[in-house]
Amino acid sequence: MSTTSYIVLSAILFTIGTVGFMIRRNAIVAFMCVELMLNATNLALVAFSKMHGALDGQVAAFFVMVVAAAEVVVGLAIIVTIFRTRRSASVDNANLLKF
C-alpha cells in the first residue's frame, strides 16, 4: 500500500477526533477524541518514517505514546475528581475558569 493511503486514513482519524472534541460534551468522550487525534498523528509519523526510510518519525511516535499515557493518568484523575464534586462529566458545566 502506498503511503498516501496511510496519510489519508490519518487525516480522517484526526478530523473525526477534532470534530468529536468540538461537538461532544462528555469529558470522557472528549478525552477519547484527543487520544484519537494523537494516534492519527502517530500513524502519520510512522507512515512518513517508512516512506523516508528513517527512524526519526518512529522514535517521535514513541514519545507521543509516552506523553499520551502520562496525560491519561492526569486527565482521568481530573475528570474523576470533577465528577465526584459536581456530579457531572459535562465539559460545558466546568466553565468557572473564565474572565
Binding site: T18, F21, M22, I23, R25, A30, V91, D92, A94, N95, L96, L97, K98, F99
Partner: protein
Amino acid sequence: MLPLEIVTPVPATGFFTLAWLLIAIPAASSAVLLLVGRRADRWAPYLGAAAPLASFALGLYYFINLLGRDEATRAVSVPMYNWISSGDWQIDVGLLIDQLSILFVLLITGVGGLIHVYSIGYMAHDDRRRRFFAFLNFFVAAMLLLVLADNYLVLFVGWEGVGLASYLLIGFWQYKPVAATAAKKAFVVNRVGDMGMSVAVMVMLATFGSSAFVDVNEGMPRVSDTTALILGLLLLLAACGKSAQVPLQSWLLDAMEGPTPVSALIHAATMVTAGVYLITRSNAVFAESEAASTAVVVVGTVTLLFGAWIGCAKDDIKRVLAGSTMSQIGYMMLAAGIGPAGYAYAIFLLLVHGFFKADMFLGAGSVMHATNDEVDMRHYGALRRLMPITFVTFAAGYLAIIGFPFFSGFYAKDHIIEVAFEQSAVIGALAMLGAGITAFYMTRLMLMTFFGAKRWQQGVHPHESPLVMTVPLIFLGIASAIGGLALNNWIAGWLDPAVGGEAPAETPSLLHFSTVALVTLVVVAIGVGISVWLFGPRRDIPLTQPDSRSPFTLAGRNDLYGDAFNEAVFMRPGQQLTSQLVRVEDDGIDGTVNGTAAAIGGMSARLRRVQNGFVRSYALTMTLGAAIVGVVIVLGRLG
C-alpha cells in the same frame, strides 16, 4: 584709557599666613552656637559679639602692619589650598589682603562688632537669640570671605553665603508672614544678580582660564571690546542685585521686616556694600569698556534719585532709612562708574556711610525699643528729651548724611559730586539734586521723630535704652562726626594703588570749600528749609497718613511701582507661561499617555470576554486558527 599698572601681591609671611582666622573665628562661633544647642543660650550673645570683635582686633593688627610697609608690598596674598584641579583649570583658594580689602575687613568687623554688642540689648527678650547671633556671625564670616577672596570663584562662595545669611535674618521672625515673604523676595531678587555673577565667572574661566584677580587684571587689556562689555554688564547686574540698585532694588525696602540690627548690618557693614566692592575690585574690567562704565554711572544716578524719592514719601522710619541707603549706594555706584578718579571716593563714602547708617539704624532701633516696636514716625514726636543719647547720636548721623560741613558725609559726598561734574554736567546736577532731596527727607525724619508734639500711642512710655545699646551708638556717632576729617586726606593716596587710580597731586585742605561744595551746601540748606517749613515743630502732623492725589507722592509711597513693574513684566507673564505649560502638560502629554492607557484598557475589557470558560469554544478557536495558518502556508506555496 591708560593701561593699568598690575599690582602683584607679595606672598604672606609670618603672622599674615594666619589671615584665614579673620573668617574662621566668626564662622567657628556660628557653628558652635548652632550645634551646641540650648546649653549655649545663656552665653550665646557674648560669644556671638566677641567673635567679630576678635576678628576686628586681628584686622587692626594687619592694618597697622600694612601702614608700616611701603606701597609696593601692601598687597599680600595668602595661598591656602588647591580647591579644584581639572585638566588645565587649577582653582586655588587664597586670600588677598590689600589696601581695599583691609578697609572692608575693618568696616565689617568694626561696625559689625558694634551691631553685635547692640544686639545683646536689643534681642535680650527674644527666645531664639542664640540662633540670631549664630546667623549674624555667619553673615560676617561670609562677607569677610567675599572681600578677602583673591579669586572671583571664591568671592562667589562668600557672595552666596551673604545671600543665605540675609535670607535667614530678614526672615528671622518667620512666624510673621510678611517677614517670611520679604526674606523670600530678597532671596529671589538676589538670585537674578547671582546669575550675572556666575555667568561672569564662567566667561572669565572661558576667556582667561582662571578666575583669579591677578590673571583677570593681567588678561583684561588683551580681550575684545565685546567680551569686556559683556563682563562689565554681568558684573553690574551682580552688583545691582546685592546693592539693591535699579532695576533690582525692590527687595531692600521689604527687608525692613527683619530685626533692626539686621537692617543695620545689611545696610552698613555687609551685603549692600558688596556690589560697590565688586565694581571697585573689577576696575580692570571697567577700564576696558567705556559703555559698561557709563551703564554703572546711569544705574547709580537713577538709583540715587529713586531712593531719595522713596525716602520722602514713607512714614515708616526704617523704610525712610532704607530709601536713603539705596540713594547713598547710588552715589557710590556713580563714583565707581566714573573710574579711577571715583573709586577711592566711592569707598570713602562707603566707609562713612557704614558709620552713619549703622548709627541711624541702631538709633531707630533704640526708638522702636522705647515705643513698643512702633515704626510709624507719625506716632513719635518729642523724643529728644526722653532719649538724649539716642537723639545726640542720631543727630550726628543725620548731619553726616545730609553733608553738614565737617561731618563725614560732607567730604565724601562733595568729592563724588565734584567728579560727577567733571564727568558730565547733567550727572553732577542730578547728584546735587539728590543731596538736596536727602536733606529734605532726613530733616523730615528728625523733626517727626524727635521734635514737635507727643503723638505716642496709648500705653507707650518712652525711655532711654540700656547702656549695652547706647555705647555702640556713641562709638558710631563719634565715627559719623569725625570719620570724614580723619579719612579725607589719606584715603585717596592709600587706595589708589589697589584700584588703579592715581593719587591727587596736592591734598586739599580740610577747610577748603570748592565752588561745587558751596553750591551743594546751598541746595542742602534749601532742602532742610522746605522740610522745616512743612514739618517744623509748630506744624500739626496728622496721626494717619493723609490722602494724596499727587502722582509723585503716590508713586513714592508705592516704592515707585517697582513691585507693580516686576509683577507686570516678570511675574504675570511667568504665571501665564507656567499655566500654559501646565495646560500643555495636562492636555497634551498626559492626555496622550492616559488616552493610550484608556484605549488599551477598554479594548482588553472587551477582548477578555473571549475567555468564556467553555473548553469547546477554545478548541474551535484553535482549530480555526490552525486552519487559517494552514491555508496561508498553502497559498504561500502556490504563490
